[in-house]
């Protein structure tokens, strides 16, 4: 086994870095982290054009698409445009998060209640301005401590 440790970051393509940064930082609460190809040295090296934001401890690289990407229909709020990122909030905060989304004019689908026997409580589904599908959910198992690295018993 390769024995990878954890998910490090995601690189997602966007159509507008300013718009995307405003969305991830201004609405979801991420922090601007860095930008590439915004300094002379990067232009000389021909590095890719992207910015990165950090949401808690998770880095999202916002890569500027070099060409226009196919966009999902406006009315489609739930899906996987190749992938979907799901962000967790505590159960007690979930309704306040919904209020914020409504106040900021972010269209979402849900909340959808998941089966009681599963780990997920409720989710809402929405998109970033570039059509990347996103989800916010609370988890029924938010107070459960999982053993992240089960030891091999050698048998």
């Amino acid at each position: 086994m390769a024995e990878v440790q954890s998910l490090s970051h995601s690189a997602i393509c966007v159509h507008d870095l300013k718009e995307a940064e405003d969305f991830y930082c201004g609405i979801l609460g991420a922090h601007a982290h860095a930008g590439v190809n915004f300094i002379t040295e990067d232009t000389i090296k021909g590095r890719s054009v992207h910015k990165s934001v950090v949401l808690e401890d998770y880095l999202i690289a916002l890569a500027l698409a070099g060409d226009f990407m196919p966009m999902p229909p406006d009315e489609q709020l739930r899906g996987a445009h190749g992938f979907r990122h799901a962000f967790t909030v505590g159960c007690e905060r979930f309704n306040r998060t919904l209020d914020v989304m409504r106040q900021r004019g972010i269209k979402f689908q849900g909340p959808v209640t998941h089966p009681e026997k599963g780990p997920f409580g409720q989710s809402i589904y929405f998109k970033d301005p570039s059509g990347n599908f996103l989800e916010i959910l609370w988890r029924r198992d938010e107070n459960v401590a999982y053993d992240a690295t089960p030891e091999f018993n050698g048998e």
């Binding site: 930008g35 915004f38 232009t43 000389i44 021909g46 590095r47 500027l64």
Partner: protein, 312 residues
């Protein structure tokens, strides 16, 4: 208390550009060109502090200062330029004068929508790129005023933070943040759009991840409103030596016209931020400005807030 220059929501309170210091190699030749072709009036010589050997010319209610520097850096292929507002008849007259002098005029496709409708570029004898922008408000027979100025920076994000958050200028337009800008860059590379120097480049990729040797891109540009003028900063795609950190006054320089209280307020904020600055300096009655606060942006461009003296 955290003091900010902007002290938002009240931004930097400036009327626009007070004057502009442009470096030229041959001062007499430049004076003649600006008088003869642009029809600017000579106000005086060596009357403005911190400007070396120079001539001051009137561009409407603003000033253009031609400062002698035989060692000036050649910026022809960069985005650096100065733009003046003119009426259509004035532009026609200047075009005729340029044609008479054998000066080539260029028109490009523009990134900034406000300039897309109409543009007109040429070089002065020293190689400074000049743009004329036709304005419906321009009534003067010659140059009505300074419309915008474009400078180079080596770090766009730091510069953006300085101008928008510290100085409190309002954003006008940005180029290079969106896919649409790079789609246009490919049109330029394909020869479908002729763009002004310094706005496009061919990046040599240092990765083998994509099967391309070069990628056409646009240079980052950020335009900001300063009173009735616009300041543009372009990301340089080559290194230029920056002035020493401790140097607050230099050339070329953009001086924004403000009231005296704004100079004091900005000085306090610069001090709180640990920025290099000098002043406010009060000038003698012979100077065309009453007082100046000299400082620089984070890219080493020399800036000034000045209190213009009323001209007769």
């Amino acid at each position: 208390m955290n003091v900010t220059l902007a002290d938002r929501p009240s931004a930097l309170d400036v009327a626009g550009i007070g004057y502009l210091v442009v470096q030229v190699g041959d001062l007499d030749e430049a004076i003649e060109f600006y008088r003869r072709v642009l029809r600017l009036d000579l106000v005086g010589r060596d009357i403005l502090p911190a400007s070396g050997s120079h001539a001051v010319l009137a561009a409407g209610r603003q000033l253009v200062v031609l400062a002698s520097n035989p060692d000036r850096v050649d910026l022809k292929e960069t985005g650096v330029h100065q733009a003046y507002r003119v009426s259509m008849p004035a532009r026609d007259a200047i075009a005729a004068a340029l044609a008479g002098e054998g000066v080539e005029v260029k028109a490009y496709k523009e990134d900034r929508p406000a300039e897309e409708r109409d543009n007109f570029y040429f070089f002065d004898p020293a190689g400074n790129r000049i743009q004329l922008v036709v304005s419906g408000n321009a009534k003067a027979p010659g140059i009505a005023g300074i419309d915008h100025v474009a400078m180079l920076v080596a770090d766009m994000l730091r510069s953006e933070d300085f101008y928008l958050n510290e100085l409190g200028l309002a954003e006008d337009h940005r180029v290079g943040w969106a896919t649409a800008d790079y789609v246009r860059a490919r049109k330029w590379a394909a020869g479908e759009e002729d763009m002004a120097p310094g706005t496009r480049r061919l990046d040599k990729r240092y990765t083998v991840m994509v099967n391309k040797k070069v990628v056409p891109r646009c240079n980052m540009q950020l335009f900001m409103r300063a009173g009735d003028a616009v300041l543009g900063i372009y990301l340089a795609n080559q290194h230029f030596q920056e002035p020493p950190e401790e140097l607050a006054v230099g050339m070329p320089r953009v001086a924004l016209a403000a009231k005296r209280a704004q100079l004091d307020k900005t000085a306090r904020a610069l001090q709180a931020k640990g920025r290099t600055f000098l002043g406010p300096v009060v000038h003698p009655a012979s100077a065309p400005v009453e007082a100046s606060l000299y400082f620089r942006d984070v890219g080493g461009n020399f800036l000034e807030l000045c209190v213009p003296r009323a001209r007769g």
